[in-house]
């Protein structure tokens, strides 16, 4: 092995462990997506609610901000005390971190809807639910998508640390590399796909974000 240079070693690793890397890649991806998905299911309604109840918004976003300031490794360990080792702990951590960008963006998006449109909609006889479905949500969708995009990129980084509580994912490969003598190639073998996943998802969601912007 020593006669190969770094890139040759990396290629060698992929040739021999391709299936393993792929399975960790999909595991990593799914952990992130599940965490963000649950955060979206919880966070978007919260965002809608606080946008309609102005006074609550400061308090809720404050709490979400506090969660954000806790270092991810510490958060992971604290949740581990409750949930034990394994993938669930990481999903809950991702969920907590993803809440802030999702709630904040939903709140902002809803508030930025032109009040005269709401007045027109209500004046034409829309119920509150129709107003939300036909006016507010379509018009704030691109801002909400931007929040999801932030959350997902954040989630991929947190999932990488999840290896410490035995959740698997690309973090496993990175840690294997740091533990091995001359493990640079293995570190790269884990780190590169992680970065690539974040970049690709960011670009893809940016495209979706543009797609759902009704005013563009």
């Amino acid at each position: 092995m020593a006669h190969l240079n770094l890139w040759e070693q990396l290629l060698y690793y992929y040739q021999h462990n391709g299936v393993y890397v792929l399975s960790q890649f999909s595991r990593h991806f799914l952990i992130s997506v599940y965490g963000v998905l649950i955060a979206a299911i919880v966070g978007i309604p919260i965002g809608i609610f606080i946008a309609h109840h102005g006074k609550l918004s400061g308090a809720v976003i404050g709490i979400a901000n506090v969660i954000q300031t806790i270092p991810s490794l510490a958060m992971l360990s604290i949740i581990m005390i409750g949930l034990g080792l394994g993938v669930n702990t990481v999903i809950v951590t991702v969920f907590l971190y993803a809440l802030l960008p999702i709630i904040k963006n939903t709140d902002t998006g809803m508030r930025n809807v032109n009040p005269s449109l709401l007045d027109a909609g209500k004046g034409m006889g829309m119920t509150r639910l129709q107003l939300l479905r036909l006016v507010e949500l379509p018009l704030s969708m691109s801002v909400i998508m931007a929040g999801l995009r932030n959350a997902l990129v954040l989630a991929i980084g947190i999932t990488a640390i999840g290896t410490f509580v035995g959740a698997g994912g690309l973090g496993d490969i990175i840690i294997r590399g740091t533990n091995a003598t001359n493990g640079s190639a293995i570190i790269l073998a884990g780190a590169l796909p992680t970065a690539l996943m974040a970049i690709i998802l960011d670009v893809a969601l940016a495209w979706v974000e543009k797609k759902v912007d009704p005013t563009a």
Binding site: A120, G121, G123, M124, G125, M126, V135
Partner: protein, 391 residues
């Protein structure tokens, strides 16, 4: 009675009274304008009709039924609503925008498509616009859509809250013509909030003047102009319009000045300048040998062209605005004032220059309109008495 409002009061939680004992009856097919300064309660009153606001006390009846017994959502679907900021949904096509209320009422798609096409033809816009988005239309076109959106579900009553306030004067005029035409043709009842007296006088069959939440006067445009109920109404109408309103048979010929500074086109600019200097004027009217009005010449024209041109005919303006000597003052005064000319030439039936109307002559008419009428003599005496004290 189509719509009746009785003893309406609206007091906000801070104790501010926005509307105070408002009573009004509106017949079907009327065009009612609420006019007043900002804070007069006109918009508040209008918004109580479709329950966007809840009155503190008093009743509103639509077709004899108390609206507070109706479901507000169902009520609003029966009442057209046009707001100042147009409020077209930017994420919907024009077709979807027009058919918002029909869609809420669950019409079939075919019926909605048909209605959308009828509606866009009604406002004389091409049917291709139906599949465009509001941002692709000009402000005037958008508000046309805003107007028909309020008609699309056969609403009999339409509320309009300063709908043309944000438009330029030309677009506003064409939209005023449009709504007036639609209203009479389709027999709709319109409640129109505005702070523009011209708009109210043009459109309304009944004007409701409001101040501080109270009704100052309810009358037809003619009546308001002839007999303003109090000083507030008079001020709101303004002096320009009182001149127009003066039931006058005075012709332009009677108030014009006959001694006009005029010149023929073949004269040299030097002579024109000398003539201006001698007569202490800054412009000359240009006539041919027979005295027919040809144009006018300004001191600026001489100043700019003194070196290059020689005769008056080279630099004069041909597009002169003039009035006929036998036309009535009340028909022409508005045009003169609006265009902001210092003076306007007067011609006879043969297009011959006979005189000039100056703004100073209009001052006399304004003076007469304000103080010259028999029932206003008291005020005139007061005015002279005060003048005497000052000396």
């Amino acid at each position: 009675m189509f719509l009746s409002m009785e003893h309406l009061n609206k007091t906000y939680s801070g104790g501010k009274v926005a509307v105070d004992d408002f009573n009004l009856e509106i017949e079907k097919g009327e065009f009612v304008c609420f006019i007043g300064t900002s804070g007069s309660g006109k918009t508040t009153t209008m918004r109580m009709i479709n329950r966007m606001l809840q009155q503190t006390s008093g009743t509103i009846k639509l077709n004899g039924k108390d609206i507070s017994d109706m479901d507000p959502v169902q009520l609003r679907r029966k009442i057209g609503y046009v707001i100042q900021n147009i409020g077209l949904m930017p994420h919907m096509t024009i077709r979807q925008n027009i058919t918002i209320v029909p869609k809420l009422l669950k019409w079939s798609q075919a019926k909605m498509d048909q209605r959308a096409e009828e509606m866009i033809k009604l406002v004389e816009l091409p049917t291709e616009f139906l599949d465009r988005y509001p941002s692709e239309l000009s402000g005037g076109q958008q508000q046309r859509i805003g107007v028909v959106r309020a008609l699309a579900a056969d609403q009999d009553l339409i509320l309009m809250d300063e709908p043309y306030g944000a438009l330029d004067p030309i677009t506003r005029e064409s939209l005023q013509d449009l709504i007036k035409d639609l209203q009479t043709r389709l027999g709709k009842t319109v409640v129109f909030v505005t702070h523009d007296m011209d708009e109210a006088l043009t459109l309304a069959t009944k004007i409701v003047v409001m101040d501080g939440g109270k009704i100052m006067q309810v009358a037809t445009p003619d009546e308001i102009l002839r007999h303003p109920a109090n000083e507030f109404v008079e001020n709101l109408i303004g002096k320009d319009r009182l001149i127009q309103a003066r039931p006058s048979i005075t012709t332009v010929g009677q108030v014009m000045l006959k001694n006009v500074a005029s010149i023929t086109p073949d004269k040299l600019l030097r002579e024109a300048l000398k003539m201006m200097h001698d007569r202490r004027v800054d412009s000359l009217l240009v006539t041919d040998q027979g005295g027919n009005l040809k144009g006018y010449l300004d001191i600026e024209d001489i100043d700019y062209n003194f070196k290059t041109a020689t005769s008056v005919g080279d630099v004069m303006h041909n597009d002169v605005f003039y009035v006929k000597s036998d036309s009535l003052i009340r028909d022409t005064v508005e045009r003169i004032l609006k265009r902001g000319f210092k003076n306007v030439p007067v011609v006879d039936a043969q297009h011959k220059l006979v005189g000039i109307v100056t703004r100073a002559a209009l001052v006399d008419i304004v003076y007469d309109a304000l103080w010259g009428e028999p029932d206003k003599t008291d005020e005139r005496e007061d005015a002279t008495a005060q003048g005497g004290d000052a000396k």
